[in-house]
């Protein structure tokens, strides 16, 4: 049977059964659309957490956090000495209360102030986040210090502070234009002041405080407490290649450095999201499976009703293969249409749900990030999988139809 005729016969059959097919397909469309919706939601949550809220380390880097006491230079040396490690760099916290003043956020003079946690880090660790031309190796005597700000701080400002208190919203590029001053008070009314200039964003920065050149923090800690000059709360271990990461992680654990920071947190979150994805997908898949059984039934009913027609076709020369081919083509066309419609419905639901969900979650630090991420691969998978699933559902009915005895079929 020629392909053109096979499609033509299938099309004729689909046309006359269109109502029944549309109604029986609704379940599959709904199931596949919810699958796309749920996957996009969990995908979005994963992206939101990992790309925007969790610090993203390069694949060849490990983050070692101090469980209690800060690390010292000897820890850095020990970690740098592990085979395969190219460098170990510390992040030092400012061991003093500090306040940052922001100016010009509401009117010219009015500003805001906040107690902050300030951390210092070497240029090597923030090289990728620094804009071109920004010099991170400043002298503590310099008048203006470059700082990096955590993107969550910016989001928190825009979501919680600016909207509630009437301050203006800030975009990343506006930060450089907000005059900032950090004041550290100590002793009897003594103070150290620095003018700060935000030069960019970094997930390594403390959530509520600036990330500054390590030398500045060292200098202040030295002025205040000499003991803290060479202490670090986090050490970043950079491996020569990603192949060494697992071995080095093992070595670090054996050396007693067990708090490998965000790795465990990320694994926990990832597992949680995977469980959520599986749970939601299971709901969708149950809908899809029930609908496919329904489609199988519809096909069987259809074939029972078409017995006579199949008998006529066999009588005029249709082979068993021809009968199967027509039914399989029908089911593949239905499946393809279902896949396309389900994808469109799913994407439509995402487009509707995104702003609604953002309105509901207005108090949360989501900012302009998307809650849903629709993967084109998932859309493609649905469009491809739908006809395959339909073909599976049509397998038994097609075989039944092909094996009908034409004489029996014509007796109806």
């Amino acid at each position: 049977m020629k392909l053109e005729k096979m499609f033509l016969m299938s099309w004729q059959n689909l046309k006359r059964n269109r109502r029944r097919i549309v109604f029986s397909s609704l379940g599959v469309i709904f199931g596949l659309a919810t699958l796309l919706f749920f996957f996009s939601l969990t995908n979005g949550i994963r992206t939101l957490i990992f790309d925007h809220f969790l610090e993203q380390l390069p694949a060849n880097q490990l983050k070692v956090s101090s469980a209690g006491e800060d690390f010292g230079d000897e820890d850095i040396e020990a970690m740098a000495g592990i085979e395969g490690v190219s460098s170990a760099n510390g992040l030092q916290l400012l061991h003093a209360d500090s306040v940052v003043y922001f100016f010009g956020l509401m009117g010219r003079a009015a500003g805001a102030s906040s107690n902050v946690i300030c951390a210092g880090i070497e240029e090597f660790m923030v090289r990728d986040e620094l804009p071109e031309g920004v010099d991170w190796s400043v002298d503590p005597a310099d008048e203006e210090i470059p700082v990096l700000v955590n993107p969550q701080l910016l989001a928190a400002w825009n979501q919680a502070v600016s909207s509630n208190l009437g301050f203006r919203r800030l975009e990343a590029e506006d930060l450089g234009n907000v005059p900032m001053e950090m004041v550290i008070r100590y002793g009897r009314g003594e103070r150290i002041e620095y003018r700060l200039k935000a030069v960019g964003l970094s997930t390594r920065a403390p959530i509520f405080g600036p990330l500054v050149p390590l030398e500045i923090i060292r200098h202040i800690n030295n002025v205040l407490y000499a003991d803290y000059t060479n202490t670090y709360s986090i050490i970043y271990v950079t491996c020569r290649s990603t192949e060494h990461v697992l071995d080095i992680e093992g070595s670090l654990r054996r050396m007693g450095y067990t708090d490998l920071g965000d790795t465990e947190l990320a694994e926990t979150i990832n597992t949680g999201i995977n469980i959520l994805t599986l749970f939601l997908s299971a709901i969708s898949l149950v809908i899809v499976v029930i609908s496919l059984v329904n489609i199988l039934n519809i096909f069987l009913i259809n074939i029972m009703e078409r017995k006579y027609e199949i008998g006529v076709q066999r009588a005029v020369g249709a082979s068993q293969g021809d009968i199967r081919a027509v039914i399989f083509t029908e089911s593949a066309i239905i499946g393809l249409a279902n896949g396309i419609v389900a994808s469109l419905v799913g994407i439509g639901a995402v487009l509707i749900a995104e702003p609604l969900l953002k309105t509901v979650l207005e108090g949360f630090i989501i900012g302009d990030f998307s809650v849903f991420v629709v993967s084109p691969w998932l859309v493609l998978a649905i469009v491809v999988a739908s006809p395959i699933l339909n073909l599976i559902a049509a397998f038994q009915p097609a075989n039944y139809a092909a094996r009908l005895d034409p004489v029996e079929a014509l007796r109806i």
Partner: protein, 220 residues
């Protein structure tokens, strides 16, 4: 053209075996017209189904156009029905969702004839049975005689060597009956097609050059 030797057909029903045909012998030459007579339920339709290769669960030998039917695979049997046999049924057996043209070209849907050519041939076949201008009509819009004409067009469209007509005028009034019969005879004669008519009506059977009863065929 057709050689049937010692043909028997039995049906199993409720643990019993019902014999429909027993030791049937028949020879039909190329281009011959034959009427097989017998009362209803005696096995005429069964004989035609066997010749058409629709029923192969039989004892005996059926050789058609040099092919021993029981030796053919299912696929070969389908090709045989498609290329060698044209069947005209008592009940017309048209598909209600297809137009007259689509019903007429149905056998060609399962052949290698390109679709465009198939439509042209179906159109010509409808014209040959005086149904030009009715190709877009559905069976529900046609009279009994017109439906049987579409069925004749369908039977002839693949230019078969054998036409099997099973009570072709049973559902038609007397006026239409003669017209349909003449049409079948005319078209089969034109194409030198072998024609076997199964009927219980004497006047219909008389149209064929040779008349046999099913009983006679089983006595030999």
């Amino acid at each position: 053209m057709i050689e049937i030797t010692n043909l028997s057909k039995r049906y199993a029903q409720d643990k019993h075996s019902i014999t429909v045909l027993e030791g049937l012998n028949l020879e039909v030459g190329e281009g011959e017209t034959l009427s097989v007579m017998g009362p209803s339920g005696i096995g005429k339709t069964t004989l035609l189904n066997i010749i058409a290769g629709l029923d192969t669960d039989v004892d005996g030998d059926v050789v058609v156009d040099g092919r021993r039917l029981r030796e053919l695979t299912l696929r070969q049997l389908s090709a045989y029905r498609n290329g060698t046999i044209g069947f005209i049924f008592q009940e017309f057996i048209l598909l209600p969702h297809l137009s007259a043209l689509e019903n007429a070209l149905l056998p060609l849907m399962f052949s290698d004839v390109p679709h465009r050519e198939a439509r042209e041939r179906a159109q010509a076949a409808l014209e040959s049975v005086d149904l030009d201008g009715m190709s877009d009509r559905y069976p529900s819009e046609l009279s009994g005689g017109q439906k049987q004409r579409v069925a004749i067009a369908r039977a002839l469209i693949n230019r078969p060597k054998i036409i099997l007509a099973d009570e072709p005028t049973a559902n038609l009034d007397a006026d239409t009956e003669r017209g349909i019969l003449d049409l079948i005879l005319l078209l089969t004669e034109e194409e030198k097609t072998t024609l076997i008519i199964a009927t219980h009506k004497h006047d219909l059977a008389a149209a064929a050059r040779r008349i046999v009863t099913l009983e006679e065929l089983q006595k030999r």
